[in-house]
C-alpha cells in the first residue's frame, strides 16, 4: 500500500491499528519528509485546539442554565410555564445599579444602613433550601459563587400582598450568620406566582439573571454542589 498523505493524517490522529502505527513510525524515522508531514498534521490540530480553547473558560451564560433547569422540570411535571413579566421601569433601574424596595416593606426584608437584609422564613430558605420547588412561599432559582468566598442566590418570594424576584448575596458562603443582602429586586405580576414557584429557574426574569450574572464569580452550582454547600453552611 502506498503511503498516502491521508494515511499519514490518520497516523497523526492515532486512528490506525497498532501494526500500521508501528509501520509508519518506522517509515517516519527513516524519512524526514514523512516525519515533517506528520508533525504538521499534529501542529495543525494543536493550533486549532488552542485557538478554540478560550471559549471553554468563558463563564456559562446563566440564561442557558436557566433554560435547561426550567425545561427539565417542565418535562418531568408535564406542564408548560409562563415566564413572569417584570416592569420595564424596574428592569431599566437594575441596569443603572439601583435597588428598588417594594412599596410596603414586608417582615422578611428588613432595611439597615446598607440596604435590605433577609429575615425570618426568607433567611431560612436562603440558608437551607435547594433550588427548585417553593417552600413557605420561597422558591430558589439558582445559586452561584460570589467574589471573596461569598455566595449569591436568585429567588422568588410570595410576600402576601405581592410577589418579588430578587438576588441576595452573603459575604461568607459557609457562615450561616453572614447576612443575606438583597442586591437586586423586582415585583412580579401576581398572576404568575402559582406556576412560577414550581419552576423557579425558568421563571426568573432576564433582568434578575443579569443582576446575578454581574455578581457571580464562577458557574452556578449543580444540584450536588448546591447540596454540599447547604450542608457546609449548616455545619457551622
Amino acid at each position: 500500500m502506498t503511503m498516502t498523505d491521508e494515511r499519514l493524517m490518520a497516523y497523526a490522529d492515532n486512528e490506525l491499528s497498532d501494526d500500521e502505527m508501528r509501520e509508519i513510525s518506522a517509515l517516519a524515522q527513516a524519512d524526514p519528509a514523512i516525519a515533517a508531514k506528520i508533525a504538521h498534521f499534529r501542529a495543525q490540530r494543536a493550533a486549532l485546539g488552542d485557538a478554540f480553547a478560550p471559549i471553554l473558560q468563558e463563564p456559562t451564560p446563566l440564561h442557558f442554565v436557566a433554560a435547561i433547569r426550567a425545561g427539565a422540570r417542565r418535562s418531568s411535571q408535564g406542564g408548560w410555564i409562563r415566564t413572569g413579566a417584570i416592569g420595564m421601569a424596574m428592569a431599566a433601574s437594575f441596569a443603572a445599579g439601583f435597588v428598588i424596595a417594594p412599596p410596603s416593606t414586608p417582615s422578611v426584608l428588613v432595611a439597615d444602613a446598607n440596604g435590605l437584609v433577609a429575615q425570618g422564613v426568607l433567611r431560612d430558605a436562603l440558608n437551607t433550601q435547594a433550588s427548585g420547588a417553593a417552600v413557605n412561599g420561597v422558591a430558589i432559582a439558582m445559586t452561584t459563587p460570589a467574589k471573596a468566598g461569598g455566595v449569591c442566590r436568585a429567588f422568588l418570594a410570595d410576600l402576601g400582598d405581592q410577589s418579588i424576584e430578587a438576588v441576595a448575596c452573603a459575604e461568607s458562603a459557609n457562615e450561616p450568620s453572614s447576612p443575606w443582602r438583597v442586591t437586586a429586586m423586582a415585583t412580579r405580576a401576581a398572576t404568575d406566582s402559582d406556576s412560577a414557584y414550581r419552576t423557579a429557574a425558568g421563571a426568573v426574569s432576564p433582568a434578575i439573571l443579569a443582576a446575578l450574572d454581574a455578581q457571580r464569580d464562577g458557574d452556578p452550582f449543580g444540584a450536588d454542589q448546591e447540596l454540599a454547600w447547604i450542608k457546609a453552611r449548616q455545619a457551622r
Partner: protein, 179 residues
C-alpha cells in the same frame, strides 16, 4: 423533579461550555453561536426521552446541534460568508506556517473554518476541536468512517491554504507589483 430529570439537566449544564465551543466552530459568529446553543437546548429537552442513559450525552447533543445548524442554514440560506475580522488580519508577510503554529487567533481560525464547506467544517470541529475519533464523528454525522477521513483530509488541506498565508498577502503583493 425526578432524579433522572435532574441528572439529565446537570449533565447538559456541564456540557454547555463544549456546546458553545462546537457552536462557535460551526457558526463562526457569537450571535449565531448563542442562537444555535439555545435551539439545541430546546431540542435536547424536547427529545430527552430519546437519549439512552449510559450512552454518551455529548455525541447525542452534538448530533442535535449539527442537525439544528443544517436546518438553520437551509432556512436562512446562509452563505458561508467569510468574515475577516480585524483580529484576523495580523502578521502580514511573515512565514504563514510558522505564524499558525506559534499563535492562531480564534478570529482567524473561525474565518478559515467558515470558508470550508459545512460538512467538512463539522468534521474538523468534531475531530480536531472536540477530540472525537473518526468513528465517533462518523456516528454523530451519520456517515461512513471513510467519508469522515476523506472530508477531514480535504478540510485540512484547505485549512493549510487558508492559514499558511496571511489573508491579505495577495493584496500586499498586488500593491508591490503596482509600484
Amino acid at each position: 423533579m425526578t432524579h433522572a430529570a435532574s441528572d439529565f439537566s446537570n449533565a447538559l449544564v456541564a456540557l454547555l461550555p463544549r456546546m458553545r465551543r462546537f457552536a462557535m466552530a460551526l457558526t463562526g459568529t457569537a450571535a449565531d453561536c448563542d442562537d444555535l446553543v439555545q435551539d439545541a437546548i430546546e431540542r435536547a429537552l424536547t427529545k430527552r426521552a430519546q437519549w439512552r442513559p449510559g450512552t454518551r450525552l455529548d455525541s447525542w447533543v452534538f448530533r442535535i446541534m449539527q442537525n439544528a445548524w443544517i436546518d438553520t442554514t437551509r432556512s436562512r440560506r446562509v452563505r458561508a460568508a467569510v468574515s475577516l475580522e480585524d483580529e484576523g488580519m495580523d502578521a502580514p508577510g511573515v512565514d504563514g506556517r510558522a505564524a499558525m503554529e506559534a499563535h492562531l487567533t480564534l478570529a482567524r481560525a473561525k474565518s478559515a473554518l467558515a470558508a470550508l464547506p459545512p460538512d467538512n467544517r463539522a468534521v474538523v470541529a468534531l475531530v480536531l476541536i472536540e477530540g472525537f475519533s473518526y468513528r465517533e464523528a462518523a456516528e454523530i454525522l451519520g456517515v461512513p468512517e471513510g467519508t469522515v477521513t476523506s472530508r477531514l483530509f480535504r478540510a485540512r488541506t484547505a485549512l493549510d491554504a487558508a492559514l499558511a498565508g496571511p489573508p491579505h498577502l495577495a493584496v500586499a503583493s498586488a500593491r508591490k507589483e503596482a509600484r
